[in-house]
């Protein structure tokens, strides 16, 4: 069994009517097994105490570098990974420990779009069957109506109806991603976790898919958790943005707050490091941080960013900063936030 220090009580927050999903101190640890007997020798703390609210109809962008735990959060919310601690509430309902059968009806409401449109579609199935499967599995359509539903989905994502007899390999990356989106929409979900949905696509196709996601959100009143490392895409689609580093949220705020007035040094460095598609700005001053992201199995003491932070002070090495400013407003977990 995994032993955990007693869980800190979740910060009490007013449960506003428009909160769709709430995370309180969410933790997802993966055991590190070693030796012949596979004894647990430690944990990779992929998500280590994350509290977030996602409001109805908004897009919360989740950014950070590889290994920061952003995808694990998405997967944990959908219960594709088992959380180690903390609480997941969907519409006020604690779903953290729901059984598979109790989760089943929830799955029609919560869906996922994956990064890789090449491996997330079954190559042996025709598009029509890929889209039919979720509807039949959840009794959402009868055999009489299912074909009309497939057409509706294809129309929504801009794939010609005539293509439904084709196999996934006959499509380009962008079209496959559209099919992945159609599949996620098949059950009329309310909430979609988009896990790097455009990272594998070409620039001109990225724009097509981002525009489509935005349009669908408008038409169907969807709520997105948009996970990405490309800041441009996140800025374009998000209402609010959370920045993660080594399993923790280091800053959260509206898109304007994050991009115009970032408070956390890591956010500033991330924005600054992003190559700007304007050669006139190449001479601008850049802060290049040294070193790599430390291992989440053994995160640094105090502030986790202190090993790479250009503004590090003694206090940062010992004391872990809290995400100050509350979960609703613009908040940064830094002792010396700007």
């Amino acid at each position: 069994m995994i032993e955990l220090e007693s869980m800190p009580l979740p910060v009490s927050r007013p449960d506003t009517a428009d909160t769709l999903l709430r995370l309180d101190g969410l933790k997802t640890y993966y055991p590190i097994r070693k030796g012949l007997l596979g004894r647990v020798k430690g944990h990779v703390k992929a998500v280590d105490g994350v509290s977030l609210d996602i409001r109805q109809g908004e897009t919360l962008g989740l950014v950070g570098e590889s290994g920061c735990g952003k995808s694990t959060i998405g997967r944990t919310i959908l219960r594709l990974e088992q959380s180690t601690g903390g609480v997941i509430r969907y519409r006020g309902e604690d779903i953290t420990h729901y059984s598979t059968s109790k989760m089943r009806p929830m799955r029609t409401e919560m869906q996922m779009i994956f990064q890789d449109p090449f491996s997330s579609l079954n190559p042996w199935m025709r598009v029509r069957d890929i889209l039919k499967e979720p509807m039949i599995a959840h009794d959402k359509a009868s055999s009489a109506t299912v074909d009309a539903e497939v057409d509706r989905l294809l129309d929504a994502v801009g794939i010609p109806r005539a293509y439904k007899e084709r196999y996934a390999h006959e499509f380009s990356g962008g079209q496959r991603q559209r099919i992945g989106i159609a599949r996620a929409l098949a059950l009329n979900p309310k909430f979609i976790v988009c896990d790097e949905p455009v990272s594998a696509l070409d620039v001109s196709i990225q724009a097509q898919v981002l525009n489509l996601l935005k349009q669908l959100q408008k038409d169907m009143g969807l709520t997105y958790l948009f996970i990405a490392h490309g800041l441009g895409a996140v800025k374009y689609i998000s209402t609010r943005i959370a920045v993660m580093y080594l399993g923790k949220v280091v800053e959260i705020g509206t898109k304007e707050e994050i991009f115009r007035a970032p408070k956390h040094p890591y956010t500033q460095i991330l924005l600054n490091a992003y190559p700007v598609p304007n050669p006139h700005l190449r001479g601008r001053e850049k802060i290049v941080v040294q070193g790599d992201v430390p291992s989440p199995a053994n995160p640094p003491s105090g502030c986790r960013f202190h090993t790479r932070c250009p503004f590090v002070q003694d206090r940062c090495r010992q004391e872990e900063p809290a995400l100050l400013g509350g979960i609703d407003g613009h908040a940064a977990a830094c002792h010396y936030a700007f």
């Binding site: 620039v203 097509q208 800041l231 490091a273 190559p275 598609p277």
Partner: protein
């Protein structure tokens, strides 16, 4: 200054089960010593095959059917494999996108670094080792002596790419071909690597051919840029002209598709409709006409040539060359997208 590299009308073909396909079709460009040339385009546009053609790493199925590649004035097209081996690594070297797969997992970093040093430089034993350690230090690796004995899997992605750069630059090549060198890396690590490439470029005066799909990286690094589409060069200009005044609708479309970090919110992104046509089914006329908003009958029927519109600014488009009678409003619209 004379040209370090001259590529003239190369056509690279691959034999496949479904017949021969032309990946690179009549690509020409030049590169001066110390210059950085960016090659941009989407997947399948032929940018990587262009660089592999220069290195003549086309495998059993690929070959250069036409054209000439001259390095320092010497024609290297069709050189024997043994002569190419002399050139690779010493005069021209290459770094690849994926530092995970381009290092051999069963040899130590030191082994792999010293292999190319001993092959191309008159150094052996201790001297070769010292040079290898010096190279690791140059690319910003701390504890280089220890890293020499490590295997690639012990290193992070950024470290591996640094090692790749160290290997590539160890024999002081005149030309470094960097094929998507930072695509697999995180933003902060990408910034480190780009910074490093700039520093090394200043120190050694190596010319760089930078292949990428990221217009941000190009804007940051390149002196001149070539835009490729479906195996052809569609536009070439110095980096400032290209970003300020792109002439080809494809270039303009690419620039309109990037969400910007600064500036106001965009309601919808300009996107290019459709996808890159497959190599076996190239459209007639201008290869971009099926996706182009300005396309006319002429575009569908006749392939436009690559012509110089202003000094050093070449473009392959009937509209940009003033051959089409299109409403000026459409062209202004095109300009707005890009500003």
């Amino acid at each position: 200054m004379s040209n370090l590299l001259e590529v003239e009308g190369i056509e690279t073909v691959f034999r496949t089960e479904r017949g021969e396909v032309t990946s690179v079709d009549g690509v020409s460009f030049t590169l001066k010593a110390g210059e950085t040339l960016g090659i941009v385009g989407e997947s399948g546009c032929g940018k990587s095959v262009t660089s592999l053609s220069i290195m003549q790493l086309l495998g059993k199925t690929g070959s250069i059917r036409k054209g000439e590649i001259r390095l320092n004035g010497r024609n290297i097209t069709g050189l024997a494999e043994s002569s190419m081996r002399q050139i690779r690594g010493s005069e021209v070297s290459m770094i690849f996108q994926d530092p995970m797969t381009s290092l051999n997992p069963v040899f130590t970093i030191g082994n792999q670094l010293m292999e190319s040093i001993m092959l191309h430089l008159p150094l052996t034993g201790k001297a070769a080792q010292d040079h290898a350690i010096e190279m690791l230090r140059k690319v910003g690796i701390s504890r280089p002596e220890e890293i020499m004995n490590e295997y690639p899997h012990k290193l992070s992605g950024g470290m591996r790419q640094r090692v790749m750069i160290a290997i590539a630059l160890s024999c002081e090549p005149k030309l470094l071909i960097a094929d998507e060198p930072t695509t697999a890396l995180d933003v902060t690590i990408q910034a480190q690597i780009l910074d490093l490439m700039k520093k090394l470029r200043e120190e050694t005066g190596t010319a760089i051919m930078l292949i990428t799909h990221d217009l941000g990286v190009v804007a940051e690094m390149a002196d001149r840029v070539i835009v490729m589409y479906a195996g052809q060069v569609v536009e070439e200009a110095d980096v400032f002209t290209l970003f300020d005044k792109p002439l080809h609708p494809y270039t303009a479309g690419l620039m309109g598709s990037i969400p910007h970090l600064d500036g106001d919110d965009e309601e919808t992104l300009a996107s290019i409709p459709g996808t890159v046509p497959p190599l076996q089914q190239m459209p007639s006329g201008c290869r971009f006409h099926t996706r182009c908003e300005l396309a006319t009958e002429k575009c569908a029927a006749e392939a436009p040539p690559l012509l110089e519109q202003a000094e050093g600014h070449r473009v392959r488009c009937w509209a940009a060359q003033g051959e089409l009678d299109i409403k000026s409003s459409t062209l202004t619209l095109l300009k707005e997208v890009t500003t």
